[in-house]
């Protein structure tokens, strides 16, 4: 009985400062701002019509989703082998490997983005090295464009993908791979027919998680992107700065809707074993 | 007054009246009435799911029964919270606090009661000495063996002087040799301290060895509550007969009397003797009855019966188990029987698979199941 009482403070906190603010945002998305309609307005879907109807804004939405897909794909391909090694390593190396995968997550995203800026800038490390090796004559534009954004975001999201996949691959008994090997399967066949199929649930969970986090990314895109790398979270920020609060609210609700659908998919469809 | 027994020298009696508990649609315990005398060692015995652990936890107060009364030492405990019942409980995994030393574990109950530190240490050391574990006070549970952990759990439990000791399959995690040694130790400790003890187990040998009385449970109901001897020799129903040891069941119709014994005609047509019920109400002539026969009480001879009162069977298999030979037999009407023959002399060579065998017994060895 006291059990229920203990949950109430948190529920009240979240109701007041999570649900309610989102409710306010939802409410505001159905009205026009004073700038657009000085005499006040009645509830309307105009903001949403603009968000999805105006080609400019629709493009931003599509860019966001495309970015999500690109980063997710990269993270999956780059991260799967690492997750496999991590899952199968039993020696003392394991502690170090896990530490190396987790530690970027505790370092501020601003610091990490700063590091990429130093690496990818016109006079940055990469360009300096390439020019010194004679591979290019002029510095490559690696920053303030989609390239820089994708690199930085893949870097940020890779640990999430790796840890999700590791947890699942650990659950696949190594004896299955051994049996396949004895039956004559080479490493690709073992991967294709044994490991990968059995890891599908984890792959699904990892994909949903990374995609969700990518489309919500703000800092990396702002710092490493340019004027044409506009994604939904940045657009929302822009509109708030421009005092178009109601339109920003509609954009926000759209982003929320997409995220909630993904959250639902992750919770229901991919029942991956949690941290316990 | 010794530190270990505390206030109650002989322990309190435990009475359960009409205890019932359901989980959703499943009956865990139904209409349970039980009276355990002070100082008695009682086992709750039964297969998993029979309700014995539920009953124990209800006595401890960790479960609230849906109905019925839990009475300890004459005091109704239903509304008394767990931490005020003054009972002792040792779980199967001992539940030693991993973050505390042995000493801190053992003194826990006394500390929670606000006893003076100087007194606490003395009592704790005495308790540890009683379970023969002096010298390990500063160790942590993970540094102890299974047997040592169990003794710490006991010392911790006894030092607060509970009126009743509740044990939930405490020997389950030990290997066979250690388990048998601990059974003896536990029983002698219980005798020494004189505390009422209720012991949950699914191992009938353990129950038979240790208990003053056994409460056999099945599907939430009490089947029989009696001494080990009575349970074994005079099981009250088919479940008890079958659960304890190995038992043969012989079915047939009452067909007259032979002095003090009853005559039973089996389905195969043999006429055999069974003991008449002790409570003096014999079943009617022609009534269908079931008799129980323990395998060690059967006498096996080769050949067809020449005397009346023997059972005809055919020997299907012989199993040699070192101290005895087990004969697997089948009657003409298809019933199976097992007979044990002590290996004090070589079995007759005619007793080979396929041979005809006659089976006899003392009249008192065959008991009727009260149906």
């Amino acid at each position: 009985m006291t059990g229920v009482l203990c949950l109430i403070p948190l529920l009240v906190l979240l109701l007041a400062f999570f649900v309610l603010p989102f409710g306010v945002m939802l409410y505001q998305s159905f009205f026009l701002s004073l700038l657009q309609s000085p005499a006040g307005s009645s509830p309307t879907l105009a903001n949403y019509a603009k968000a999805f109807g105006d080609f400019f804004y629709l493009r931003v939405l599509l860019q966001t989703l495309a970015l999500g897909a690109a980063v997710t794909g990269l993270a999956l391909v780059l991260g799967y082998p690492v997750a496999y090694v991590l899952a199968r390593t039993r020696t003392r190396w394991r502690q170090l490997l896990i530490f190396l995968v987790i530690s970027p997550l505790v370092v501020s995203i601003v610091i990490r983005s700063y590091g990429w800026m130093v690496l990818l800038g016109r006079v940055g490390t990469v360009n300096t090295v390439l020019q010194a090796l004679g591979l290019v004559e002029k510095p490559l534009p690696l920053m303030y464009n989609w390239f820089g954004v994708v690199v930085a975001l893949t870097h940020v999201l890779l640990p999430f993908m790796i840890l999700t996949l590791t947890s699942v691959i650990e659950g696949i008994p190594e004896s299955l791979e051994d049996t396949a090997a004895v039956l004559g399967a080479g490493w690709w066949q073992r991967f294709r027919h044994v490991v990968f199929p059995l890891s599908m649930e984890g792959v699904g969970a990892g994909i949903t998680l990374v995609f969700m986090l990518t489309i919500g990314s703000f800092v990396s895109v702002l710092l490493l992107g340019g004027s044409d790398t506009l994604v939904l979270p940045l657009l929302i920020y822009q509109q708030v700065i421009l005092l178009n609060n109601n339109f920003a609210a509609a954009l926000g609700m759209s982003l929320l809707a997409i995220s909630v659908v993904l959250l639902y998919a992750q919770a229901r469809v991919f029942r991956v074993r949690g941290a316990a | 007054m010794s530190a270990v027994t505390g206030r109650a020298e002989r322990g309190a009696d435990v009475e359960l009246r009409g205890i019932r508990k359901r989980y959703g649609g499943v009956v865990a315990v139904e209409s349970l009435d039980l009276l355990v005398q002070p100082g008695e060692f009682v086992s709750l015995l039964g297969p998993s799911g029979c309700g014995k652990t539920t009953t124990l936890r209800a006595i401890a107060g960790l479960i609230q029964p849906d109905g019925g009364l839990v009475i300890v030492g004459g005091r109704v405990m239903n509304d008394v919270p767990v931490h005020r019942r003054g009972l002792g409980l040792v779980a199967q995994n001992y539940a030693l606090f991993p973050h505390m030393t042995v000493m801190e574990n053992v003194t826990f109950g006394l500390r929670m009661r606000g006893m003076a530190p100087s007194e606490i240490e003395g009592k704790a050391r005495e308790a540890l000495a009683t379970v023969q574990l002096a010298g390990l006070e500063e160790r942590y549970p993970r540094q102890l063996s299974g047997g040592q952990q169990q003794r710490v759990a006991l010392a911790r439990c006894l030092v607060v002087g509970p009126s009743v000791l509740l044990l939930d399959e405490p020997l389950g995690a030990l290997d066979k040799k250690l388990r048998e040694a601990m059974q003896v130790e536990l029983k002698s400790l219980q005798r020494q301290v004189g505390i009422t003890t209720i012991f949950v187990t699914h191992d009938q040998e353990e129950a038979l060895t240790m208990s003053d009385r056994i409460a056999v449970m099945h599907q939430g109901r009490l089947q029989q509550f009696a001494t080990p001897q009575e349970i074994y020799e005079a099981p009250r129903n088919r479940f008890v007969a079958d659960f304890i040891g190995v038992c043969n069941f012989l079915e047939g119709r009452v067909s007259g009397r032979d002095g003090a014994a009853l005559l039973l005609r089996t389905d195969a047509g043999d006429l055999v003797c069974v003991a008449a019920p002790a409570d003096g109400s014999p079943p009617d002539e022609g009534a269908r009855v079931v008799a129980t026969l323990r395998p060690e009480k059967l006498v096996v001879r080769a050949g067809k019966p020449v005397v009346a009162g023997a059972l005809r069977t055919r020997l299907e298999a012989l199993v040699y188990v070192g101290t005895a030979v087990h004969f697997h037999l089948r009657t003409p009407s298809g019933e199976r029987l097992i007979a044990y023959r002590q290996n004090d002399s070589a079995p007759p060579p005619e007793l080979t698979p396929g041979a005809e065998v006659q089976v006899t017994w003392e009249p008192n060895a065959a008991r009727l199941l009260p149906e």
Partner: protein, 268 residues
């Protein structure tokens, strides 16, 4: 793992990826030790002057102070609200419990901008202005799932029989909590609290909407610096200090409590 040549290539590849993961952090820290006027890696010369510049910059120092206080308060709040909630969630069966837990943990995956923007609108609609408590509470909301997640994991893995035994031995509910539950939950609380602290300390998407010139936080300050000016090594110096502190904390906590196991991010 097998010892065939494929395995060697695999391990090499892992090394490369892990190197990739550490690269920008190493670079950011390395820049701090450089003597150049602009951020360059590897630096042409070595110097510690940028640390001095950073520490004497009033804007950064006050922003640092704000961030520390804000993060500390956030941590206190998250534990105060999250610990009882975790106990309740494990001990009781709530209707639609999986859905309830998914909602409670959702801030972990939902975009941070949404929390910042919605709180901004909420404060505006309520006439509160850019109140300082709005920032604190928004941080608490997005940080509490970290405490919930680790505490739930530890509590669920704990042998509940220990609490029962304590009660049978005579400990009342408060004593049981204090002497048995709490000490055993401590690793979960510490790990969760650490992540809550870091989440608040490093946060940009929420803070950027809710800070004013007076109450600005360190990451927001650094961000506006980076966005507006040529990046000079002063940011590197701040980064180096922060990274050193955080990593040291992580190592110590891992030694004492084994953080890595508690925080496996298995798809939440």
């Amino acid at each position: 793992m097998r010892r065939d040549p494929g395995a060697l290539a695999l391990r090499l590849y892992c090394g490369l990826v892990l190197g990739f993961l550490s690269l920008p952090i190493v670079v950011a820290v390395g820049v701090a030790f450089g003597s150049d006027k602009i951020a360059r890696f590897p630096p042409t010369g070595l110097s510690l002057r940028w640390f001095g510049v950073a520490l004497s910059n009033a804007t950064f120092v006050s922003a640092l102070g704000n961030s520390v206080i804000l993060a500390a308060l956030t941590t206190v709040l998250t534990i105060a609200f999250g610990l009882p909630a975790s106990l309740a969630l494990v001990r009781q069966k709530f209707p639609a419990q999986p859905a309830l837990e998914a909602v409670l943990l959702s801030p972990l995956s939902l975009p941070g901008v949404l929390f910042g923007v919605s709180m901004l609108f909420f404060l505006g609609a309520g006439g509160f202005g850019l109140a300082w408590w709005g920032l604190l509470v928004a941080h608490a909301v997005i940080a509490v799932p970290y405490v919930l997640r680790t505490t739930l994991a530890v509590y669920r893995a704990m042998d509940r029989g220990l609490e029962e035994t304590a009660m049978v031995l005579g400990a009342n509910p408060w004593q049981t909590f204090r002497h048995v539950t709490l000490p055993l939950l401590r690793p979960g609380l510490v790990a969760g609290g650490l992540f809550a602290f870091l989440t608040s300390f490093d946060n940009v998407p929420v803070s950027i909407f809710l800070t004013t010139a007076r109450t600005t936080t360190l990451p927001v300050t650094i961000m506006s610096y980076l966005v507006n000016q040529d990046f000079d090594p002063i940011v590197g110096a701040i980064s180096a200090v922060q990274v050193a502190l955080v990593l040291a904390l992580l190592v110590v906590l891992d030694r004492v409590y084994g953080i890595a196991q508690i925080t496996s991010f298995g798809g939440q």
